[in-house]
Structure formats: C-alpha cells, structure tokens
Amino acid sequence: MSFFHLLHPDVALQALPTILTGLLLTLGICLVCGILSLSLGMLVALGRQSNSKILRLSLGAYIQVFRSTPLMLQLIYIYFALPFAGIRLPPLPAGILGLTLHYTAYLCEVYRGAIESVPKGQRDAARALGMRNRIVMARVVLPQAIRTIIPALCNYMVQLLKDTSLLSVVTIQEMMFRGQIFAAQTYDYFTVYTIVFLIYFAVGFPGIKLVDFLEKKMKKGYASRSVILTPKKIETVKGVNA
C-alpha cells in the first residue's frame, strides 16, 4: 500500500469545513495577539528604559519568567491554575492572554536590542539640535531601530501563527484542535493531519518568504527603500528646482 493510498479524499472533503472554520479562528487569534504583542512589546521595551527602578525591575522579572518557561505550560497555568487564585478566564481570553504575554516578552527584547543597536552618535546629534528625549526616540532612534528588525518581527508573527496550535490545550477550537476532534471521530488520523499540515504550510510559507524578501531589502540601504513607513516627505517644490 503506497503512501498516497492512505489519503482518503472523501474524508478530506468532510473534514475541510470544520478545519477551515478552525483556520478562521487561528488567523483571528493570530491577528489579535500579533497586534497586541507588537504594541505591548514596544511599550515594555520603552518602560524598561524608564527612570523608575520598580518599573524596570518588575518588567525585567516578567520577561525572564515568560522567556524561561514553556508556552504550553504558561497557557495551562493561566487557564487551569489561576482559577484557584480567583482569576477565572474563559478559554479564548485565557489563550489570547497567554500568547500575548509570551510574545510580548520576546518582542520587547527584540525592540530593546534594536534600540540599543542605534549608534550613540545618532542620539548625540539629535540632542545637540535641541530635540527632547521623546522626539529623539520617535524621530531618530525608533525609525532606524524598527527598520532593522522588520524581518525578525515577521518571523515572530509566523511563529505565533504556528504556536496558536498550542491553544488546543485550553480547549480553544482553532484549526489544530478541530483537526484532532475530527480525526478522533473518523479514526483517519493520516488524512486529517495531512490536511491540517498542508494548510499551516500554505499560510506559513508565504510568511517565511516575506521574511527572506524583507531581509534582502534591508541589506540594500535606505536609498532603495520602499517597504517602511516614513513620516511625510518634505516635498521639493518645482519652483525651487533650479
């Protein structure tokens, strides 16, 4: 019996609707957690540069905890253990909270590294012009920092997409969990998991290609850029174009 005889098209067809419904939830969670962790990560990174020692230390502790423990355990803990401390969250908010906290911890380190990698001379030049610290950060440091990490951020987003599959442990019916349920009902594990496998690949692969493309683009320098958002260009007026 060959490999492909194990695939049953009729089961695949039956499985598709429920798996695609799961995909929608997967993508939705990915979008929400992506936006949340991309923005919270920045806030935490800036917070770690704050003058308040308490804020710096507590953010540092949070990051260390979430980077040193498995995501699956974090999800389980938020969903199954926190209720004993009186915090009872429904599966979806618990899952979104877990994923967001986990990814915020990682992304904030990416941001921090990028902020620190901007040469000190850039801050000197900006401050010497009289820019206030907030402007230095917003107009000089962050535009340079973020540019270098766009590929890394995209990479984390692809990883986030894959990690949503762990939400099955807190009974969220995203694509992975729906596949598991359907496979258990039909006993056709091979067909169902192959479908799920292919769909993850179909969504994840373009993301990975995008990462590669962006990395090449970044290497080319500022003169050839087009992918990043920039403040409104100062127009060169025709009249002055001598």
């Binding site: 000197d124 030049a125 401050r127 340079q144």
Partner: protein, 251 residues
C-alpha cells in the same frame, strides 16, 4: 558670549577636565588643539551638555546654562532650548541615515522649532546651496562622500541659526583629499562672523582662521594665545614638543 568657569569633569575616577576656565566672544573663532585624550572633545560636549560637568559653570549669552547656582540641573525643556542655540558638528558626521539630505537639514526646524514646512524649506535649500550641496537634497547620506556628508552635517547645524557652533574634529574621519572642501566651508563661516569653537588637528587651518588658540593636555589648558604667537613662539615646553611633533608630520 560663552563663559566657562572652573569646569571639572570626571568619568569614574578618571578626571578628564581639570579647572577649565575660558571665554569666547561673539564672532570669535577659537581653536582647541592637543593630543588625543587631552579632554578637548569632552570640553566641547560639556558646552552643549552632552556631557554633564562634575563641577563648574557655563554661561551662554550671560545666562547660566544647564544648571542653577546650586548645581541643580535645569529641566529638559530649558536644556533643550539652550542646546538648540548651540550647534554641533561631529567627527563621524552622525547624519540621520533614514532621512534625505534635505530632511537632515530640516530636522532641527521641523522637530525642535516645530515650524511650518513653508517656513524652513526654502531656508534649508539656501543653506544647502551655501555648502554646495543643493543638488544632493533628495539623496540619502549613504549616497554621499565623507566630505559631502560632513558639509550636510554643517548645514544641519546652520539650519537652527545657532549662536555658536562646536566643531569636534570634523575632518579627522575624512580621506585627505576631502579635508579641503570641509575646511573651505568652515572658513566661509568664519568670514561671515560665525562664533566657532573648533577642535582640530589641522594646524594650518587654526593658524589662518582662528582668533585664539588653546592647547590642552591631560585635562588642563596649558597655553592660550593668538595663533601667530602660539605657533611661532610657544612658551610651554609641552606645547613646544607637541607642535614640533605635529608640524614635522604635516608640513
């Protein structure tokens, strides 16, 4: 217009500025020379508060800058305001790589003075013309030669219409054949009456352009004079040996 009194600066146990006092009048060009590690750059960076002095005072235009009589630092708004009146040009240019040449020059008026675009754009182009780079306005710094980048650095400082400009070894990172074009711009500025403090190793430039010269060594001002006497008849032994070793290389 700038008066520095009994200025000290330490990094940890390392005292890099020791009891510096000096005045620079409006329209003057002050040359600061000395071996590396003598504190020249640190002194410049204290004048616009990029380094915070350990002790001592700086008056700019008759007013105490950066801190009050008791040594309590002024708030960010006041410090930024003073900085915006004191231009600085750096050894490694420090242009903003994500901005075009024109945007670099406009950065001060745009993000510090928060002027309307119409108020500063023509001005910025005029300034770029004065350093000979108007046609490069839409290029990025990475597309320019070192000399061109440094001229943009000067234009960026000029766009703020500062009372004084600090030049921190602005030709040291340039290929020898590009030094001349930058010194030419400095010369033009001096002719126009700009107040300038120039830390440099270009002895010929200091001799021709500066009104006064300071020689620094190990964090102190060792000798101060007008350029003619300074170079022709240095009084201090340390100055003599420094000048003879430097001039034998360059002349």
């Amino acid at each position: 217009m700038i008066e520095i009194k009994n200025l000290y600066k330490s990094f940890g146990n390392d005292e890099v500025l020791k009891d510096i006092s000096l005045t620079i009048d409006s329209g003057q060009v002050l040359g600061i020379i000395g071996p590396s590690g003598s504190g020249k750059s640190t002194l410049l960076r204290c004048i616009n508060n990029l380094e915070i002095p350990t002790k001592g005072t700086i008056h700019i235009n008759g007013e105490l800058a950066y801190q009050d009589e008791n040594g309590k630092p002024f708030n960010e708004t006041e410090i930024s305001l003073t900085r915006s009146r004191v231009g600085m040009v750096f050894q490694h240019f420090n242009l903003f790589p994500h901005m075009t040449v024109l945007e670099n020059v406009c950065a001060g008026p745009r993000y510090v003075l928060k002027l309307d675009e119409t108020a500063y754009r023509d001005d910025a182009i005029t300034i770029l013309e004065s350093v000979g780079l108007a046609e490069k306005r839409d290029q990025y710094p990475e597309q320019l030669s070192g000399g061109q980048q440094q001229r943009v650095g000067i234009a960026r400082a000029l766009a703020m219409k500062p009372d004084v400009i600090l030049f921190d070894e602005v030709t040291s990172a340039l290929d020898p054949e590009l030094v001349g074009e930058v010194l030419g711009v400095l010369r033009d500025l001096a002719d126009k009456g700009m107040t300038m403090i120039v830390v440099t190793h270009e002895m010929g430039f200091v001799r021709q352009v500066a009104d006064r010269v300071i020689f620094m060594d190990e964090g102190r001002i060792v000798e101060e004079n007008n350029p003619a006497e300074f170079f022709d008849s240095p009084r201090n032994e340390r100055t003599k040996s420094f000048l003879s070793s430097v001039l034998s290389h360059t002349d």
